[in-house]
Structures are given as C-alpha cells and as structure tokens.
C-alpha cells in the first residue's frame, strides 16, 4: 500500500517519488571530525544523501557506524564536531549558518526524534509544555500553542490528550512517550523529520503502532522522513530508499526493493543473510565473521576488507567510492559488486 498511496500524495502524481521535484535536503560530501584525547578523529566522511518532499530514506548500519553522528550533523546539534562539505535544506546552505538562523529551522522545518523516549523528554516539564514549546519559541500565543499541541497529540493517538497534557513523562509508558516525542517533532509542521532509532527501545507491538502512525502522518502531510535504524525489518516496511553505512561511510544506496532483492555490496548481503526471518524455517544464519572497524582504525582502502569474503589485496589500499551502477538508482562502494545471482 505504501509506495502507491504515498506517491499519489505527491504534487506530481507520478509513480516514482518524482525526480523532477527538487530535493528538500541535499547532503554533499559531508565529513565529520571531532577532537579526542588522542587527537582529531574523522568519524564520518564522504556522505552524500538527498531526499525529496514526501520521500522516506532509511539510514541503516550497525552500532557505531555513524548514523546518529550524521543525523546530529544535519541538525548541527553538537558544536564539538567540525563539519565540512555541504548540507542544503530547501535551497539554503545550513553549514556555516549562524546559530540564530539555524534555530529558526530546527523544530519548525526540520525536526528530530531520538531513540530513548524516556531520556528525550524533560522529566520536570508537563507533556503539554513540551509539545507546545516549539511553537512558543516562535512567539505563538499560549492558547494557540496549547490548542495545536493538543491537536497533534490527538492525531498521534494519545487518548484524552487535553487532560494528559498536564501529566509528566514518568506517568507515560514507553510507547506513549515516543508518541509525545513525535508530537514535539511534528507540532510545527516540519518538512523533514529525522527519526534516530525511534522504535528500538519499544516492544514489538508498540513499535508496530508507532511506525504505522509515522507512516500515516507522513503520508497526510507529505513529510519527508529520514529513518535511522539497524533493524532491516523495520526498514523493509517503511522506507522508499535505503542508504547503508559502514564505519563512517556510505557503502550502498538503492530503492528498498532493489536493495533487498539484489544487494550489491558484500556487507549488505552479509547483513541480510544474518537476519533471522519469522516467516521461514531456514535454520542456519550466515554469520559474518568479525566486527566493524572503528573509525580511527580504518585502513586506507575498503573499511570492510578484513571481513569481506571476496576481497583481493588491492582492496586494502585502494578505496572504493560510492558509484552508481548502470541502473542509476543503485549505487555501491565496492570494487567487485555482487553480480545479480540466479536464484
């Protein structure tokens, strides 16, 4: 249902999330450096992403691969990170923008949800105050902000919202808290939502409900979503396109169907083979040996080389760049992408 219904909501009414619509966010050659006790460290490099209005992009990778760092860089939430490259949002370059102007984007056109729904709400402020805050910051009157906050909570299925706005986060369950976090992110009607593992801390059934809500609202509002997760099941049900990260670099990007049907990067393949599926009885998982290299131990060449089953010696020294395949929608950073296999 998702792909068809969603594209119908797009202005162009075309089948594919309209290539002719300008991207709402365009990240070019983003590199993120930070200072550590052992000197500067490059956490993330060469990240290129672009997302159009109404589109859902999933950013996938194992823990430590740089997903959260990238999300925070787009929002420029961490002043200790040095960012280079370009982050254009709705035509405006965000990198180098003074803090004041950045603030006018954050929470209103561009907003974010975090993984831990308990820790991401202020324990001593009422739910209502917190949901209304993005509007209050922008000078919306108390009454109006409260009214819109209530409407947003209603829309997110928080029963009896008017009453519960006077409660505090600790009086809510995990799933409800995450709805509140979503309401905070959505109350000012942003154009882009970055959701960093929004359902990882939730039970399966609660996760399912929250994802469906995000789906419905994004659809209604034509909202673009970057969903950050390590759960390939969640991605399959939500995203249009998937970008896979490994050790601070993008290693593959493709429309969701292509990526699952025919992954081109040995790492993506390995990941997909390692996930147990509830709908089959296949008994052995193909476990990739080893663990991801940390960003400060990356070899000059391919970061996946030490675990790659098809590596050649040159992979260690020559770095593969993310290049589009002949089928332009699918890009991969590997010297020897997997050929389409006959199954």
């Amino acid at each position: 249902m998702m792909t068809e219904a969603r594209t119908a909501a797009l202005p162009s009414g075309e089948r594919s999330p309209a290539t002719e619509v300008a991207p709402i966010l365009e990240v070019r050659d983003l590199a993120i450096d930070t200072g550590t006790s052992r000197g500067p460290m490059r956490l993330v490099e060469n990240v290129n992403l672009s997302i159009r209005p109404g589109e859902r992009l999933a950013l996938v990778g194992e823990s430590g691969s740089g997903k959260s760092v990238t999300a925070r860089a787009i929002m420029q939430l961490d002043p200790s990170m040095r960012l280079t490259g370009s982050v254009r949002f709705a035509g405006t370059e965000l990198l180098g923008l003074p803090e004041r102007s950045l603030r006018s984007y954050r929470g209103s056109r561009l907003s974010m949800v975090f993984q831990d729904p308990l820790r991401s709400l202020n324990p001593t402020m009422t739910i209502g105050e917190q949901v209304a805050e993005p509007l209050r910051i922008r000078g919306v009157s108390r009454r109006e902000a409260w009214r819109r906050a209530q409407a947003t909570l209603d829309q997110l299925g928080v029963a009896n919202a008017g009453h519960r706005m006077r409660s505090y986060p600790f009086e809510f369950s995990g799933g409800m808290r995450q709805r509140v976090a979503l309401a905070i992110a959505l109350v000012a009607e942003p154009a882009l939502l970055i959701a960093d593992e929004p359902t990882t801390a939730l039970d399966t059934r609660v996760q399912d409900r929250v994802l469906k809500l995000m789906d419905t609202i994004a659809l209604e509002r034509g909202l673009a979503v970057i969903l950050i997760t390590h759960d390939l099941g969640v991605v399959a049900g939500f995203a249009d396109r998937v970008a896979v990260m490994y050790s601070g670099r993008l290693i593959e990007e493709a429309p969701v169907d292509d990526l699952y049907r025919a992954p081109k990067h040995p790492y993506t393949r390995g990941l997909l083979d390692a996930v147990p599926r509830l709908d089959t009885d296949a008994r052995t998982l193909a476990a990739m040996p080893g663990t991801p290299v940390s960003p400060d131990a990356r070899p000059p060449g391919c970061a996946f080389a030490d675990r790659c089953p098809v590596r050649v010696d040159d992979c260690l020294s020559v770095r593969p760049v993310l290049l589009p395949m002949a089928d332009a929608a699918h890009a991969v950073a590997c010297h020897f992408p997997i050929e389409r296999e006959s199954k």
Binding site: M1, M2, R205, V275, L278, A287, P289
Partner: protein, 273 residues
C-alpha cells in the same frame, strides 16, 4: 516428546507487594518445561515477567507457590548438596554483555571463577586448560586469556559470558535475552554458537527473548508469556505455523519481516481487515 525434562516449572506464582498499590502478580501459575537436549524459548514483552521467572528458577527469588524441579529433584525441598549440584549444572547468561563482566578481571579469571569456587582441588594448569577449551569452543582464542573485557566487542563479550557458563559443563544454560543488545551480524554469530553447542554437547538451553524471529530460528519449543501468564506453549513449528492465542497472533503480526514485498502484503491485509 519422550525425552525426560531436565527442568520443570510447576505452577509458579510470584506477587510483589508494593506500598500504597495493590500487590502485582508478576507470575501467575506459570508452567514450563525444558526437555533434555533441547532449546526451549520463552517470549514476552517487557514487564511480562521473564526475568522474574528466571530469578525464581535460579533460586534468587522465592516464589509464593509452585515448585521448580531440576533433574527430578524438587528444589524447594532440596538440601545443601543438591543446591551445590544445581549451581554447578545450571548456568546463567545475562542480557547485557557490557555490565555482566567485571572490568577488572582478566578473561581467564572471569571464565575460571566458577571452577575456583566449585572445584577447589583443581590444579591451576588443569583449570587453564579447561578455560582455554571453553574459549575456543565459543570462537575465541586461548591467547585472549590475559586480556580485559573492555578490549572486546559486544559479541565477543557475550561469548566470554557464554564461555564462563559452559566451562562448568552445565546441563542447562539459562539465557536472559543474550542477543538483544547485539548487532545483527554479531547476533547471528551468537545464535549459531548456541545452536552448535546444542548439537555437539547435548546441552539444554532455556532461551529468553522478545524477538520472535530469533526464537523461531533457534528454539525447539516456545512458551508465550503475557502479564505473568503463559498464554500458549508447544513446539516451535506449531506455534509459529498455527498460533492459537490472540496475543501470540498479534505478536507475530507486529514483527517486521526483512522483505519489502512481504511487508507491503502484510500492511495491505491489515488494512483490509
């Protein structure tokens, strides 16, 4: 099922009284069994009572009513000697591989600790040998013995925790969400390790998890726990193939499948309903 049960949990009830609130039933007449040499799964959402059940089984918590029977012995009337045997033959692996290992202890002393406690007479060299074998059987190397936990990844730490358990040559391994904190690629390594241990050494495993796919993949039988009650139990293939309880069905329906086509089909049919 003609293999005997290594562990039987019979009608365990556990209530936590808290001041000001009505007493909460964390476990309500729970029955569960693990047959010798099999992997039994226990699934349930957070707060359903999984960890409480484990604490009752391990004797860390006294159930209000009900009995735990290990290898034919009713543990509620067991004496000192039987408990000693129990502590040696039943080993526990925790969820969080980061906090369950003492950061100041080397891998060798962590893994060998149980041997020091239970087999006092064992000579040091023999102990080293057993530790090395255990490490190798979980895919680590004997040369890792002098390292500290902090220099290992999450998956490797979980292997250390498993090595610590199996070095005692337990007959039953109780695992409380041992892969929940791990990444997919590492999770697969641990799942495969448990599976091969079962095949090679005929160990029995009680495996607690909230991820149904992992349980289906690994377990021979499953019990589903909802708010302290077992709502369904049986052979894995039957439960996942033909779930009876509404609760089980809703859990299955909510579990995402890593396949876009299947997911689309699922949400289409859930809309049709």
């Amino acid at each position: 099922m003609n293999t005997p049960d290594i562990l039987t949990v019979r009608s365990i009830t556990k209530t936590f009284a808290s001041r000001g609130r009505p007493a909460a039933k964390a476990l309500d007449a729970v029955n569960l069994s693990v047959s010798e040499g099999s992997i039994a799964g226990l699934v349930g959402e957070s707060g359903s009572g999984k960890s409480t059940l484990i604490r009752c089984i391990m004797g860390l918590e006294r159930p209000d009513t009900g009995t735990i029977i290990f290898d034919g012995t009713d543990m509620s009337v067991a004496g000192r000697e039987e408990w000693r045997k129990f502590r040696q033959q039943v080993q526990l692996v925790f969820q969080d591989p980061f906090s369950s290992l003492d950061p100041r202890m080397t891998v060798e002393s962590t893994v060998g600790e149980g041997l020091v406690i239970h087999k006092k007479s064992m000579v040091k060299n023999h102990r080293r040998e057993l530790v090395a074998t255990a490490l190798e059987s979980v895919g680590l190397s004997a040369s890792d013995m002098n390292r500290y936990p902090r220099s290992f990844s999450g998956g490797q730490r979980q292997r250390i925790a498993i090595a610590r358990a199996i070095v005692m040559r337990p007959r039953l391994l109780v695992c409380d969400e041992p892969v929940s904190a791990l990444d997919v690629s590492v999770q697969a390594q641990v799942i495969n390790l448990l599976k091969s241990m079962q095949a090679e050494s005929n160990i029995s495993i009680l495996f607690i998890a909230h991820d149904l796919a992992v349980v289906r993949h690994l377990c021979d039988s499953v019990s589903v726990l909802e708010h302290g009650k077992i709502v369904e139990s049986g052979r894995s293939t039957e439960i996942f193939g033909n779930p009876q309880a509404d609760y089980t069905r809703s859990l299955i329906a909510a579990s995402p499948i890593p396949d876009p086509a299947v997911q689309r089909e699922k949400s289409r049919s859930s809309l049709a309903q």
